[in-house]
Amino acid sequence: MQIQSTVAVLPNDNIDTDQIIPARFLKTISKEGLGDQLFFDWRYNSDGSPKSDFVLNTPAAKASKVLLAGDNFGCGSSREHAPWALTQYGLQAVLSTSFADIFKQNSLKNRLLPIVMPKDAHAALFASLEKDPALQVTIDLPAQTLTWPGGPVVEFPIDLFAKDCMLQGVDEIGYVLKQDAAIAAFEAQRPISLNTLA
């Protein structure tokens, strides 16, 4: 899995999932139609018209598969609507110096790569993009590298199990369902008093 793309830049630290998709859009019972609601309150004026100066409304960003953000991306609420909205907008990777735990898990389950960069490489990419906003980054998942013209080769960490699942299209729920015998054995030795609602 290789991603080659321009980069949309959102230089804020601590972007929380309430910004990524505001709570009032969580009343849906479906996973669909969330792309237009991504960053809704940052993206649209109160009359519903798009804010022309917000990065995700620019034609360049709309064509990007990669978002570069500040530290601790995806903090706050556990809503999986956040990666659903990001991927439905067209993003395949988010670059940051760290991610909130639940967001990271949710992203990996939705083929959205949460790429953790060292601080200096992160700052270098910001600087390169300032000089050349049209520059393209290349993400190589099997090799776990992120590169761009004139930049370093950034090796990024990723949970190897999640990586395999992504590359081989393994369904994690199916994987655990297959371990039925082990689960049943565990259940059998579990104190009955823990079956609170029985």
């Binding site: 505001p22 609420s77 729920i173 008093s193 609602l197």
Partner: protein
Amino acid sequence: MPSNKPRTIIEKVWDNHIVAQREGAPAVLFIDLHLVHEVTSPQAFSGLRERGVKVRRPDLTFATVDHSTPTTPRNLPIVDQVAAAQVAQLEKNATDFGIPYFGFQSLNQGIVHVIGPEQGLTQPGMTVVCGDSHTATHGAFGALAFGIGTSEVEMVLATQCLLQRPSKTFEVKVEGTLKPGVSAKDIILALCAKIGIGGGTGCVFEFTGSAIRSLSMEERMTVCNMSIEAGARAGLIAPDEKTYEYIKGRKFAPQGEAWDKAVEFWKTLPTDEGATYDHSVTIDADTLEPMITFGTNPGMGMAISGAVPDPASQSDPLERESLRKALQYMNLQAGQPIAGQKIDVVFIGSCTNSRMTDLRAAASVLKGRKVNPGVRVMVVPGSQEIKRQAEAEGLDKVFKEAGAEWREAGCSMCIAMNGDQLSPGQYSVSTSNRNFEGRQGKGGRTFLASPLTAAASAVTGVVTDVRSL
């Protein structure tokens, strides 16, 4: 499997729940209690239907509605059709899959993290999950409790297990005695301010120390509740006599011989002498002041006697920019004292502060006083059970006589999904847990604080230190 190495309670609960551990793969972790609510579950149930699988353990699963439900009188219908459809969907899912369910009209309905403990469902040593980041609340009982996404909700429904890697352990030691006017909420707000909103990322907190031991169970829930606001996936407190006393006799608590066995087991859970943590931090309870946030994340907090910090004093450019943006959103000036800032709304509620202790604290301030005419005050109990108890104690009268609204149970203005919300530009003092932009309504501005601070501010109409009343 565990050797003789001293272990923390976090490691013990983890070890007790490993179903399978393949080389290189995350552990398959068994879940003792799965709490379900209307917002993060519909897509998971759809997934089960597509797969054609049942809920593996309906007897370990429990559902209620709280987020998108109105807090207006229960004889009124849910006017928001989208919310009504979501509530109806959970009811259908609970019926179709045979899951115990406290519906909108149930006398036991309430915020999922309030009713778990209230019903005795939450017990020490358990693994508890919910599609909700404040699941850490249940950690107050010595449970390993954490929030999960909807894909994981589907996995737990289907298998009663999760794929997990162990978190790092992080001891938060709180020693000393809280001064009058300082509460559990101030402990956790102080932790968020100290280590920042990402300070606990990748970790589970264990709260220890004399100040934590002297907290009641309800206060412990307040502390654990906001672990996620300091970045941690979970936060817990080792069980003790107070824990057992709280649980005993509750609807789903073990009875008779099972109770004795349970207590015997629970006593093995506390962290062993000599166990070590990956990280630690200490908070001095003696010097703690009432805390309040000034910015747009829970880590942007300070003592209520303080002044709004100056972005120019930040050395990191991204941090400087974040602070500048936060102050711009909040329309606050660097250097201004936070006390005295005018407010429009006070919200007393949420899974952080909507239990009897919180309502009593707020009522102790409002008794015999009047709410400032410029302020709307909403008091929203965490559950219908709490509502009845508060009414039996006459707290509803105290609130109403002071000029506050006394409403039905739910998340309400903590998340502003149900119509309870701020208007653009309004300021609130809120006992909830998140001050993100727009969290309490688009354009709304939130100051997070304790019930005492909220009630004092309701009286004066400005941010107020309760000790100055």
